[in-house]
Symmetry: C2
Subunit: 387 residues, 2 copies
């Protein structure tokens, strides 16, 4: 032993900066210390800021230390926490590390009565965890955590140089953990925001859906089916159908009928057949939808799905009469999902097709109205009972 | 000099982990090196992954080094970059650091002809920047940056121990910079997502607005005014009106009339006065809005603004007849902004009030229909010509 494990741990501590998962990081550190320093077990008490409590992560080591129930967390009033938070350690031990053997034989008169009382509690905690040394980690003035070390496997005591080394290491560790926590917080906020966006779009799309008596739940079903189709296509072509594509498709299918907000209710809910003027008005909805979303730069790719979901593979669709591969894939997928959902729900002028009937009908227009590659994916999903 | 600046720089390098602004971090590092090591100037060439180019940040030092135009960036084919990217440095110098004096007198036969050619280019670059030593930083296999050191102020050469130290330091710096960059990327994505959410909500709210012939642009104006009022209130009470509150208010005011999507167009656009049934239907919109948004947990606080923006201070409003401080502040603010905008726009049954007339009217119902504290803020904004 000696300088070797120190160098290893030091350089490991540096690479830790780029581990941004706090739990993984802590487990990694604890395991590394146990293996490299060859001690029975180690643990880290880490501050949970939200609840002002300290959570214990322990490597059991080869001795199989058991953590007593109720000791996985320590509140701020726990003597071990108070001892380091109130810097009683600094008053007694210059380097801040707390060695069980030294603390045990400490002259009671050298420290105050209240400090002595806390120290007694600390020693009890150390006995429970079979801890020989405690090393606090601070970030600025906050106690970020406490490193707990079991006994060395060779039976020797920790030397002063080793204690110095661990005090320095604990600071690196504290910094790396703090960094990982900040990263995690930012990631959580990002995920929260993504959820907020999707949920709000779902709610507003559903509200617009609700205007159209005949399409209740249509948007949600088309979205679900579009994503299933894309996931199926993804299995064969991961370059085109990647995560970004799925994200754009998700948004596009949620918003595909948003332009219906521009169609008068009298047309939307008309019981009888529509006349030419009404049909023309109805067919404006993909364009109206794309105009509504146009100002949002980030939606550029999704807008293609909204604008072209009524184009047909043979060029007979609207608004532009695009053909075959001119139709963006994102729109061609929504088109297939839209057709399937329209066929399998009741309409004023006909009852719903069964799924089986719809699949047969759709296969007949594959390569004519609909993109055959995408129809294939739909048929496969049906065959696998996934829709 | 000697061990002192090393300890200082080492410990500084550690705290760098928590500086998450790459530009600040790089400037900090360069300045620190110049001051502590007492050299004429220093610089860092940092990789811009998107463009595969290296951007130069220089501390001019006391000698006031000028960067020649066009040298603020180095492309991947620049000899200095190629030298380190192709690891020619490792072939020639064991430690990876490149010392101008050593490179100059290098035996041409010991290295290949092409390496010699690149080295010539490197020496030219070093002369331009008056650089005595170049230290590369790698992260895994990527050249993340190059540290450029000017000459020592005491006129001496850099010793081997100093070079070793800088090679180690450069790795810490590389790691810290990479960490900061990752942080920055995450932050940018978060901001992009926030913009996406707000812009989409704006677009959908505007589309719903458009259904109501008389309120064109109403939502945008109410949102703008609500935020101005809240900012005014923030000056006096930063605890209640904080950034989180502003965010919730922003969303709430964008969505305050979303429930109108549930009102038939025949009522929304009726030319004459509404009958009792129609009025009741119209008054459902705050409740309908809150029901639409209810499933979105993240909108909890904003929903209060949607649901209660038609409550009145004296309890005569709807849907629940809440009074005074029972009405959430977020709703009370939207209520004042909503009232002001309604008064200052034309309606089928009356022409618009001037802003001055509206303010007088609103002051008369302050403490009756409207919360006086918020009316005060509106009046102040008007007095300051901010609305």
């Amino acid at each position: 032993m000696g300088i070797d494990y120190k160098k290893e741990l030091e350089s490991a501590a540096k690479t830790m900066i780029l581990v941004h998962e706090p739990d993984t990081l802590i487990k990694m550190i604890v395991r590394m210390i146990v293996q490299r320093v060859r001690i029975s077990h180690a643990g880290i008490l880490l501050h949970d800021k939200d609840r002002d409590t300290y959570i214990l992560t322990v490597s059991r080591g080869t001795t199989g230390l058991k953590i007593p129930k109720g000791f996985a967390r320590m509140d701020a009033d726990n003597p071990l926490i108070r001892f380091f938070r109130e810097r009683i350690n600094k008053q007694i031990f210059n380097d801040g590390a707390l060695v069980y053997e030294e603390a045990k034989i400490l002259n009671q008169h050298k420290i105050g009565l209240s400090a002595q009382k806390i120290l007694k509690g600390v020693l009890y905690q150390m006995e429970i965890f079979e801890t020989e040394v405690c090393i606090p980690s601070y970030f600025r003035d906050d106690l970020l955590g406490v490193l707990l070390l079991g006994s060395k496997k060779n039976g020797k005591k920790f030397g002063q140089d080793e204690l110095d080394f661990f005090v320095a290491l604990a600071d690196d560790v504290a910094m790396a953990i703090r960094n990982a926590q900040l990263f995690k917080e930012l990631e959580l906020e990002l995920n929260k925001n993504k959820r907020l966006f999707i949920h709000t779009t779902v709610a507003l799309a559903a509200a617009i859906d609700a205007k159209d008596h005949y399409t209740h739940g249509h948007t949600a079903r088309v979205t679900d089916l579009s994503l299933k189709i894309a996931n199926r296509l993804m299995q064969k072509n991961k370059n085109t159908f990647n995560e970004k594509f799925l994200e754009h498709l998700h948004i596009a299918s949620l918003l595909h009928d948003i332009g219906k907000i521009g169609i008068p209710e009298s047309i939307l809910n008309k019981e009888g057949p529509l006349n030419d003027t009404e049909i023309r008005k109805m067919q404006e909805h993909p364009t109206v939808g794309s105009v509504i979303l146009q100002p949002i730069k980030e939606l550029e790719d999704s807008i293609l799905g909204v604008k072209y979901h009524h184009e047909k593979y043979d060029g007979s669709g609207y608004p532009e009469g695009l053909k075959g591969n001119q139709i963006p894939l994102i729109a061609a997928i929504i088109s297939v999902a839209d057709t399937f959902d329209a066929m399998t729900t009741d309409r004023p002028y006909r009852r719903a097709f069964s799924k089986k009937e719809a699949i047969v009908e759709i296969q007949q227009v594959s390569g004519k109205q609909l993109n055959p590659q995408i129809v294939n994916a739909l048929v496969q999903l049906y065959a696998e009972s996934k829709i």
